[in-house]
């Protein structure tokens, strides 16, 4: 049933429909509304049987999930940014052990400087941990991806994180077609573990593996990610058949078939980019948009095919590899390395900086006219940069950069975008 609902709420209610048995909750902005809603759903008896555990840290959240999953319970947790880093040891552990935990990552920037707003640096920090990483474009997709995530995780014995932009999606109220319990039950059967802690059939889980076999164990997890590349579209197809809408899959193409210029991005910014693309199309420019849903495993072949007709590709991304350049760009470059196209990286939206349609259009005009550099930071305030660099060059004790910049800016509250 269609409802006007906050993204966090839609995700919480959808997760509850997936019948998780153990939910671990440690609060961090901007995930709080998700776990609060789930807490109420469990406490009211609406979701039962389910253990909702208020843990003492994110590290504990993932650890409790690991113990629960290894004992045969469907486990779920959510975090963001600093919280993801705090649990990172356990994140790798969960993937290495092959436990089908599902986690919502409410994408938020990683400090210092501390910043509670959206970007993708947190997801990027965990991209090699062995988790499947799916990015939602809208709150509808965020909800739908969780249903697919539990199924995918349990089919493959791999943990899955569903990424949704913090505040932009989590705190946005928009219409979401909420699924029915029986439809979710039909799509998602009870969890059947591949490994189980059972006193009647004891096994040792988590043994050390030395040089003799480590490479092989790791290669097996590599193969599972490749299996995921095949499974994801199949599940998306099944989902579409069951629920009547396209959600998930490896990627979404928008007007790319005859596009000369294709913009590639992850997550909610795709909406703004599509509006910009339509505006440029109206002036005769052949612009298309490629939204990547499955970031890990990275769909090299599908991306190559989607971009095959383009002359230029602009990757707009909300994270960067310091001193190097784009992160998503690197993956896209690898996928298209033998194609004849120019690739440009635009870093945008860091720490919640608004990405406006006007900026995107202007940037695309530059790209089309060949004026766009290989790497650009969108809407960068050069003045701030120059003044801080001058301060640092002028004296050793130039002070904390963040404080200097904030003083430079004056009252921050007055800026809208």
């Amino acid at each position: 049933m269609r409802r006007q609902i906050e993204g966090s709420r839609a995700v919480a209610e959808t997760v509850a429909l997936c019948r998780p048995e153990v939910i671990c909750a440690y609060p961090i902005s901007p995930q709080t509304h998700i776990i609060e809603a789930l807490g109420a759903i469990v406490k009211s008896g609406q979701l039962s049987p389910c253990e909702f555990i208020n843990v003492e840290s994110e590290f504990a959240a993932m650890s409790v999930s690991i113990g629960a999953s290894a004992t045969g319970a469907r486990a779920y947790t959510a975090t963001a940014s600093q919280g993801l880093l705090f649990m990172i040891e356990a994140v790798y552990n969960a993937a290495g052990l092959g436990l089908p935990i599902v986690m919502t990552l409410a994408n938020r920037a990683i400090g210092a400087p501390i910043n509670i707003w959206n970007d993708h640096s947190d997801a990027m920090a965990a991209r090699d941990a062995g988790w499947i990483q799916l990015f939602a474009e809208t709150n509808q997709e965020a909800a739908d991806l969780h249903i697919q995530a539990f199924r995918l995780a349990e089919d493959l014995s791999l943990p899955v994180m569903v990424c949704m932009d913090g505040f932009i999606l989590t705190h946005a109220v928009e219409s979401v077609d909420m699924p029915e319990q029986m439809d979710v039950d039909a799509f998602l059967p009870p969890y059947e573990p591949r490994q189980l802690l059972d006193p009647n059939d004891p096994v040792s889980i988590g043994a050390m593996v030395g040089p003799e076999a480590f490479e092989e164990v790791r290669y097996l997890s590599y193969l599972r990610q490749l299996d995921a590349l095949e499974r994801i579209p199949v599940l998306a197809g099944e989902f579409a058949a069951s629920f009547g809408r396209a959600s998930g899959g490896l990627l979404h193409c928008y007007r790319t078939e005859d596009a000369e210029t294709i913009v590639v991005a992850l997550g909610s910014v795709l909406g703004t980019i599509k509006d910009a693309a339509d505006a440029l199309r109206a002036t005769g420019q052949r612009v298309g948009v490629l939204g990547i849903t499955s970031f890990r495993p990275f769909p090299h072949d599908a991306v190559r095919d989607a971009l095959s007709g383009a002359r230029r590709v602009v990757v707009v991304e909300k994270a960067f590899s310091v001193g190097f350049g784009g992160v998503l760009s690197t993956d896209v470059a690898m996928a298209t390395h033998d194609a004849d196209l120019s690739l440009r990286t635009v870093i945008a939206g860091l720490g919640g900086r608004a990405i406006t349609q006007r900026s995107i259009e202007s940037m695309l005009a530059d790209a089309i006219d060949g004026r766009l550099e290989a790497l650009t930071f969108l809407d960068l305030d050069q003045g701030i940069i120059e003044r801080e660099r001058a301060r640092m060059a002028g004296t050793k004790r130039s002070g904390p950069t963040a404080e200097n910049v904030l003083r430079d800016l004056g009252t921050v509250a007055s800026r809208i975008g």
């Binding site: 671990c24 049987p49 843990v55 504990a60 290894a70 319970a73 059939d201």
Partner: protein, 342 residues
């Protein structure tokens, strides 16, 4: 005819006491049909106190639960020597996750069992002193606070042994470790505040807290079984001497544990809901020197260039424990703190 209870003191694991007591009072270890939860073939060092302690504790837990037990293990000596690729010596459902999260992982196991309605399956979490008092402390406190149904066992050998004998929050003052060398004006570990985990556990008000050593098998097994009578968070702290890290002879492991008890340096007691309920009395008052002088990690306190002043400070700690816990309640004829005789 008058009768009186007679105490038997054991030497080693298969003691005179077992043959002479009734079957119900014999140790789990003396029973050929014990579970051997930690089976032979593991790679522990000769004389490893932790291997002993874990075998004693888990077999007792298996008997208490009818074999319906899941064990969670932190990274450390026990985990490493028990699961050398491609083998495992565990005959119990066993999960190793990470170093600092054994309590949290155990919480997850217990939660899953609850959700699945498997009320008879119990959970034991185990870690060394490092994984308990240092890196695992946050998770442990959280587990206590929520009163999750887990028995947490700390095998305390008083340092990070598996990585090469580095100091932990449980390392006693003046002990030499690789990160607190016996050099300088304050050789060995500094005299800090210590971290009395058993009393920290008691401060959480949990149902059952106890300490034990590998020197008294009956006592240790009884405490494990007692712990299993409760539900909710429980804590057991077992002193397990490490010949390598302590610099003691492998054959002296149980003797070291007994001396730790007899000197008062390691109080052995039980507590319920934050209140001490029983204390294991010191049989014969023993000055700390007899304990310390047998260990290479305290060698710098003796002989030429020795530090009797440090020994005295350690003695003061022991005496304070004796007083705090009332460890010398029963008077033993002919021996007193003043004479300090054996």
């Amino acid at each position: 005819m008058k009768s009186q209870p007679v105490r038997f003191y054991q030497v080693g694991s298969f003691a005179v006491g077992n043959r002479l007591v009734d079957k119900e009072e014999r140790t789990v270890q003396s029973d050929a049909s014990r579970s051997n939860a930690l089976d032979s073939g593991h790679r522990a060092c000769q004389g490893c106190g932790e291997a002993l302690g874990a075998r004693y504790a888990l077999d007792a837990a298996m008997r208490a639960t009818g074999g319906q037990l899941i064990a969670v293990n932190a990274t450390g000596c026990l985990e490493v020597f028990s699961t050398p690729y491609p083998e495992t010596s565990w005959q119990v459902a066993w999960l190793h996750s990470l170093f600092g999260n054994a309590p949290a992982v155990a919480t997850g196991v217990a939660a899953a069992l609850k959700v699945k309605g498997k009320r008879d399956v119990r959970v034991v979490a185990q870690a060394g002193d490092g994984g308990t008092v240092d890196i695992g402390f946050g998770c442990l406190s959280g587990m206590f606070e929520r009163n999750d149904d887990v028995l947490f066992i700390c095998y305390d050998n008083e340092a990070y042994m598996n990585t090469g004998v580095q100091r932990s929050g449980a390392t006693p003052p003046a002990a030499r470790t690789a990160t607190t060398e016996a050099i300088g004006s304050e050789p060995g570990n500094s005299f800090g505040q210590g971290k009395d985990l058993p009393r920290l556990a008691m401060a959480h008000g949990i149902a059952y807290v106890a300490t034990a050593t590998v020197a008294d098998l009956h006592d240790l097994e009884a405490k494990v079984e007692r712990a299993m009578e409760f539900h909710g968070a429980r804590y057991l702290h077992i002193l397990v001497p490490c010949p390598l890290g302590w610099g003691s002879a492998p054959c002296d492991t149980i003797l070291m544990a007994r001396l730790a008890h007899e000197t008062g340096l390691f109080p052995v007691f039980e507590a319920e809901y934050g209140v001490v309920t029983a204390v294991s009395s010191i049989r014969r008052y023993t000055p700390v020197e007899s304990y310390l002088s047998m260990q290479g990690r305290y060698a710098h306190l003796f002989g030429e260039g020795g530090r009797p002043d440090i020994v005295a400070r350690i003695q003061a700690i022991a005496d304070r424990n004796i007083s705090t816990f009332g460890l010398l309640q029963e008077s033993v004829v002919g021996v007193g703190p003043e004479t300090g005789s054996q």
